[in-house]
Amino acid sequence: MCSFFCPFMSHGSVVGVLEAVILRSFGPEGGQVLFTRDTGQAMLSRSGTHILRALHLEHPLARMVVECVWKHSTVTGDGSKTFILLLASLLRKIHTTASREPHVSHSYNSLEAAEAATARHLADKLLAFALKELDDLIAMEVAPHGRCVSWEDFTAEMHSPANHYVQKLLASFFHMRLGYVHCAFISELTCELLNHWKCIDNLPYFALQFLKDNFPAIHTPVSGFPITSSRLIEGQVIHRDFATPYPQTDHQPIKAVVFTGYLQPRLLNTGDVLEVGCGGTEERSIVDFSAWTERSLQCLIANLQSLGVSVLLSVVKQSAAVLALATQAEMCFVDCVSEDELSLFAQLSGATPISDCWRIEPEHIAELTFCRPILLGPHRYENMPFFSLTCKATHLHAKNYLGTIHTSHLQTLVADVFIIRVKVKPYSLIICGSGEGQTDQYACAFQDAIRMLFTTWEPIPATGTTAAKRTVQSDKRTSSYTHVLTDSSTCTSSNLNPLHKCVLQPGCIMPAGGTFEFLLHHALLKLSHSCSASNDTNIGVPVSRLLASALLSVPKQIYSHSPGQFLQTRTRHNAIFTQDMGLESVSCKYELLLAVLQCVTSLLRVDTILRTHTALHTQSLADTSWESTEDEAEN
């Protein structure tokens, strides 16, 4: 048995329900949602993703929307509530337009089918328009009202204007996410962190990308302390305690190796067959075998001692014999280290983890400045910074990141990277919070802030027609690209090669509070007036006008408490930086728009939802597994 219902109406109603959920938390005046669990844990949050993922949703469309929001927020870190608002507004506008002028060139069974087809057509046109023309429109009409902050300027001095803008951007982000009280402190801490990690590479967003990818290993959450106890400490923190008593060593540098496998072969795995005593005249027993493995271990430890290694890190839990021998040899041993931390360690130190413990090469040995235990809250961790990075290590970094860059930039970047010799002192972030939930929330906010910064400074790859122009004029474009990166003034099209279209500059920020939406609204209206209806004769309504009216829903909500201010801001949209609503990133907004339009397209492509009823006992099993996955998702 399957049930069928007209999905067109239910798109709007499902998204309307989600909109009603997040509406009260939206905007600077928005409230927080209190989550409670049956275990008694309570937590306050204003993060849209967090709220939506905590809802119990079995409706497939609702789950799809929440999935889209979550994926978007893992990329840009921000804008999940705005996503839902824009999505709801767009669906309403598309529905209104489709019901007003259904597509009559084909024959349909019913009015609903005609409306649904029109809506799908509209959504596809919107997406095509956005992918082709929106970035140029934003670059020409909206971005000039903002300011381009160059990443190089950011760390020149602590009190440079670039620093000020970045800090203000972070402060407004944290204000919206965590509240007014601590946003200044947290944004300063983040700036400090960025400053310390900035010199990891020449190109600006590498540092941000590195931080973004390795954030779980770089931060340590500690609950039970106020947020103002959060600070940076030198070195990397390994979130495990020493397995052997820590000997105090004074000589430097401390040498460390990383093992990925077991040092002593394990005897008693299930399914293993151990053949003892084969091929010899004497009878051998398992005791002889274990004695042999211990002797080989002693050789290994002696080898390590001769190389001067005093710290051993291991991914797996080693046997007691290994630990005993390491203690005897006065070596520190840390086992069960997580993969992310070991990969960070490997990247920072340049040492490759050893898989075959009988072949230890110099490239496997890392050099550390110090290695000491650190007590953070109730847990004792190990803290180890690094001495220096070699040129070879930098090359390794470049190899990791080049894959993610647009291929046309490849030639330029490889040349730059080879020559660099960089010294980096890694710093770890200790995030404190009063409870586990709060600490987790702060850690998520930090991570999202870094994602947001990364999206802001990431160069937007060429789309559509501009890509064709770029392959033809690659030399000119390369030079203009590097020119653009070092250009710290407000961006104007005259700085760029006039032969190719204006592209959205990285680092463009503008005042928050609906300014972006107003400017884009006006730009879209201007575009719809100027262009003839030649492309849209079928529909009759230019899609740009539809998008323009949908965009206004965001500032309407922001100013829902004061409609007078809405009108004022609408007319005075060219007053830059005079209002104190904070700053926001243009790239994030652009990504948000694209993501919303893609979500609309995929939603409207759903024609029917078939629900099949399975047998009763499997249904109950499915229900229980649903509950458990949802509980896990809430974690």
């Binding site: 109603s13 309307g16 329900v17 909109e19 009603a20 809802l55 009559v104 024959s107 349909y108 009015l111």
Partner: protein, 229 residues
């Protein structure tokens, strides 16, 4: 809006004002439903993938696994508000309708029947229940078809035949016989119609009205028989 089979061009006309009001009311109702559902979701209810059979709204499920439809159980129904048996407002408006209808057409229809002989007969404007009115009001939303057929014009004089409790006493029997026969037939038709309606009547109000109609039909028949004798 008429929808053709698809062979011809679809003629779209802009919605009339009444339709606009309906669309507006539906939109407001939808917003209210969304808001209520959002509140329930935040309270921990689960949004199911099913729709309510009655109204088509998405169902919610609470912690005790009980299904809940926001629009059916909380909001007033769209269509029930027109049913006089369920809603006092609708009943009052129906009474007003009846009064209006009884006052205005009564003076115009009495000359039709009473013609010459009883031109001085005052038309007693007793507000008799008019079946087509109450049935129409009660079934307005629920029935997909238009309300039960308004009795055809030939039957109109028969209803006004019920209005006067005292039929005109005519001294000339032979001239009156065909008229009386016609009147009898009309009353019988009405009686038959009322009986069939009574068998199918769903609401209390309608049944009461139909019974009183049948009573008056019977009274009229008796009077007519007395007249003809």
């Amino acid at each position: 809006m008429a929808l053709n089979g698809g062979d011809e061009d679809f003629e779209w006309e802009p919605p009339s004002e009444a339709e606009m009001k309906v669309i507006q009311a539906r939109r407001e109702r939808q917003d209210k439903i969304s808001k209520l559902m959002g509140d329930y979701l935040l309270k921990g209810y689960k949004m199911l993938g099913d729709c309510c059979d009655v109204c088509g709204t998405i169902l919610l499920q609470d912690r005790q696994q009980k299904k809940y439809c926001v629009s059916c159980q909380e909001l007033d129904s769209d269509i029930d508000k027109d049913n006089p048996a369920l809603n006092a407002q609708a009943a009052l408006s129906q009474v007003r309708e009846r009064q209006l209808a009884a006052q205005s057409p009564a003076p115009s229809q009495t000359p039709e029947l009473n013609g010459g002989p009883s031109n001085g007969q005052p038309s007693v404007s007793v507000p008799q229940p008019r079946p087509e009115h109450c049935e129409g009001a009660a079934a307005g939303g629920r029935a997909l078809l238009p309300p039960p057929a308004v009795p055809p014009p030939p039957a109109a004089p028969s209803t006004t035949a019920l209005a006067p409790t005292r039929p005109a006493v005519c001294p000339q029997n032979p001239a009156l016989r065909p008229v009386l026969q016609e009147a009898e037939e009309a009353v019988l038709t009405k009686l038959r119609w009322a009986t069939t309606q009574l068998q199918g009547a769903a609401s209390l109000e309608a049944s009461i009205q139909l019974c009183s109609l049948i009573t008056s039909c019977a009274n009229s028949l008796r009077s007519l028989k007395e007249l003809s004798q």
